[in-house]
């Protein structure tokens, strides 16, 4: 029981902080969702309910917005999120091979989270760092000119 109450408190305070910063107007919904997503790692059902209640926006609409944008997640994610750019500029300079190697190395398909909760692997569209493709992003760190041999070293930096 006490555990659940604590989680509730945390969600409530994170949502409260986001609302204080961005306001309760509809215009603030995406900034609020983004901030709560950053603070909690994802948008849990209780966080979405709390936002809906506080901002007086129907839950269906809050969920519809939360599920639309790539940077928002309605599912829990691993401790580290690996994004691989699958757009053409990275693809034609060796991205295909690196992407295959990355899936093999992690034993994950795109969208999956590893059983130990360490990794979530996702593909992303272009992030505008194309001059150094292929590009792999782990959390907020961008790695450019990646070849398959570098992957184990890069992954070893994240516990």
């Amino acid at each position: 029981m006490s555990d659940i109450a604590q989680v509730d408190d945390k969600v409530r305070s994170v949502v409260q902080q986001a609302l204080d910063r961005h306001g309760r107007e509809r215009e603030g919904l995406i900034p609020v969702l983004s901030e709560v997503n950053r603070a909690l790692g994802y948008l849990s059902p209780e966080a979405l309910s709390e936002i809906s209640r506080q901002m007086r926006v129907p839950k269906s609409q809050v969920f519809s917005v939360a599920s639309f944008y790539r940077m928002l997640s309605t599912k829990p994610r691993g401790r580290h999120v690996i994004q691989f750019c699958e757009s053409a500029p990275c693809h034609v300079v060796g991205g295909r091979e690196v992407w295959q190697a990355l899936q093999d190395e992690l034993g994950l398909q795109p969208g999956e989270t590893s059983a130990d909760g360490r990794w979530t692997l996702v593909t992303t569209s272009c992030l505008g760092v194309c001059a150094v493709g292929p590009v792999v992003i782990v959390d907020n760190d961008i790695y450019g000119n990646v070849d398959r041999a570098q992957l184990p070293q890069i992954l070893a930096r994240y516990a």
């Binding site: 107007e25 509809r26 215009e27 603030g28 919904l29 995406i30 900034p31 969702l33 983004s34 926006v57 609409q61 519809s64 917005v65 639309f68 944008y69 790539r70 940077m71 928002l72 699958e86 757009s87 053409a88 500029p89 693809h91 034609v92 300079v93 593909t123 569209s125 272009c126 992030l127 505008g128 760092v129 194309c130 001059a131 493709g133 907020n140």
Partner: protein, 547 residues
């Protein structure tokens, strides 16, 4: 490895041809062979190089020396002096006075190599983007002062119209006309939005402007606000651009402190302020009505148009939406005048264009060149040639919404009208250069996957069309497609192009049509021969060969 040392261009517009450009070109070829330079020097005829009286012209890169008028008899001297001895052929240079267009731009480059003259990027990498005083030292906020104290809003719009500036987001719509629409729209409140949701694959020009010169956007938006009668502006920055967001916030804060934003700017009765809205990851929000929906706190689904944002935009009010690069031109035009701006680029597409060069070239990166330069020049001069001396096969312009440009179009001037005439599009400014190891089916498959993932799903032609087209391209790549599938593919392309609600679905058809138009044989080989000519496609579903 074979490296091209010099590139020689001969103008070949109608007037040049009448004045003997063909003979000059042939004489150049002869002389270059005679001196044994044929492996190091490429000679090519290009179209119009700008308006001027010194035709025919010969441009020699990488020094970017402009000769003209050149007669066939001048050629031996030119080749011997410039290409053999490496010095400027005395007496043949075109006089600067007579020059305009691309040539004026080259002459104004102040000896930089490779030849560049920057307008949009003039301060990027030169000033401290976090220090407003550095911006002011480099003529910053001078244009705003000029507009507010010496010009009426109508005069500002006139100046922008006369400059011929066209939208750099990809569509090429005349900026002055758009401003006039918003200015004349009825409404008690109006808004100015800077579209900084740069998400076209391969494009990062706007990011470098936002990171390197954020005040130029603040200044341009304020000028735009004055011109159209808006007192509030929004910058919609894609959420992934963290540094750009940080620098813009700081720039806005500094501008407020110095009185460039707020009430009574420059002692006038004009008030203006700017808000930042960070995106949350959705390509479709680069579409202006989806962007507006997103600012309003909704899913980024494009609205039906008309009505256009110029009359019914943010919260239903008249709204001006301009791309970052378009806006970055504005202060320069106001400060230096429309005539100054018109000397660069071509008659119908004045000014410069920022490109990102990517792919199979020796040097990738960002360049700002005049409108009307050709792909061949970009690859040879700025890309420093193809990587490993490979042959150029195609370029994919403007991210995913651009076109696939085959090698046969590499001498087509890159400006809005020439590209439209050639049936291709300039897009947003990415140039993905591909060599012969690139498979067009594989490329189209990647592009369609992008559209499939990024489709917002609101309208059926795009939601189903991108899905199904990607599926068909995948079967072609696996070697299991039949010839009839190509018919389906093209009819899907027609459906997406004609019936999609917004640009995403409409442009999703482009790569399909382009590969079928320019590379049909290569696509068909995947089906009839079950072979990928470049060896890229897996062809894993290939039927066993009958013994």
């Amino acid at each position: 490895m074979q490296m091209t040392r010099a590139l020689v261009l001969v103008s070949s517009d109608r007037e040049s041809m009448e004045r003997g450009a063909r003979q000059v070109f042939e004489r150049l070829q002869q002389e270059i062979r005679a001196t044994g330079l044929q492996d190091e020097v490429v000679v090519t005829m290009v179209g119009d190089v700008g308006r001027h009286d010194a035709l025919p012209m010969v441009i020699v890169y990488p020094e970017a020396v402009v000769y003209g008028p050149v007669r066939p008899d001048d050629v031996p001297f030119l080749v011997e002096e410039h290409l053999l001895k490496g010095r400027i052929a005395a007496g043949l240079q075109a006089s600067v006075r007579e020059l305009s267009g691309r040539i004026a731009w080259l002459s104004a480059r102040q000896g930089t190599l490779p030849a560049e003259y920057r307008i949009v990027l003039s301060r990027v990498g030169l000033i401290d983007p976090e220090d407003i005083e550095d911006y002011i030292l480099h003529d910053g906020y001078e244009a705003l002062g000029k507009a507010l104290t010496t010009m009426t809003p109508a005069q500002v719009i006139d100046e922008i119209s006369r400059s011929g500036l066209r939208g750099r987001g990809g569509a090429g719509f005349p900026t002055g006309t758009k401003w006039r629409f918003v200015a004349s729209a009825k409404g008690d409140r109006k808004y100015v939005i800077c579209n900084a949701d740069e998400s076209e694959p391969g494009t990062f020009k706007d990011r470098l402007v936002l990171e390197g010169d954020p005040h130029s956007i603040v200044e341009a938006m304020t000028i735009a606000g004055y011109a159209v009668g808006a007192s509030e502006g929004y910058i919609y920055v894609r959420g992934e651009y963290g540094l750009a967001l940080e620098r813009l916030s700081r720039a806005i804060h500094q501008a407020r402190q110095m009185g460039f934003l707020g009430r009574g700017i420059f002692g006038s009765d004009f008030d203006f302020d700017i808000h930042i809205h960070a995106g949350a990851g959705a390509y479709i929000c680069g579409e202006e009505t989806a962007l507006i929906e997103s600012i309003e706190g909704k899913r980024g689904e494009p609205r039906s148009r008309p009505p256009y944002p110029t009359t019914h935009g943010l919260w239903g009010k008249p709204t001006l939406v301009n791309n970052v690069e378009t806006l970055a031109n504005v202060p320069h035009i106001i400060r230096n005048g429309a005539a100054w701006y018109r000397q660069f680029g071509t008659k119908n597409s004045p000014g410069t264009k920022v490109y990102t060069i990517l792919g199979a070239v020796n040097v990738t990166g960002l360049i700002e060149v005049p409108m009307g330069i050709t792909l061949r020049e970009v690859i040879a001069i700025y890309g420093k040639g193809m990587k490993n001396g490979a042959a150029f096969k195609l370029a994919q312009t403007g991210g995913s919404s651009g076109s696939i440009i085959p090698a046969s179009l590499q001498d087509t001037p890159m400006d809005f009208d020439s590209f439209t005439r050639a049936g291709v599009s300039l897009g947003s400014g990415a140039l993905l250069i591909c060599d012969e190891d690139t498979c067009v089916v594989d490329l189209a498959k990647v592009l369609l996957n992008f559209f499939k993932v990024e489709s917002c799903g609101k309208c059926t032609p795009c939601r189903i069309g991108t899905q199904r087209a990607h599926q068909i391209l995948s079967t072609i790549a696996e070697g299991t497609a039949e010839m009839d599938d190509l018919k389906d593919l093209l009819s899907l392309a027609d459906g997406m192009a004609n019936y999609s609600n917004c640009g995403l679905g409409q442009t999703a058809a482009v790569p399909i049509r382009d590969i079928m138009r320019h590379f049909r044989a290569e696509v068909e080989a995947h089906i009839s021969l079950r072979v990928c000519p470049t060896g890229v496609c897996p062809m894993s579903g290939r039927r066993a060969m009958v013994a």
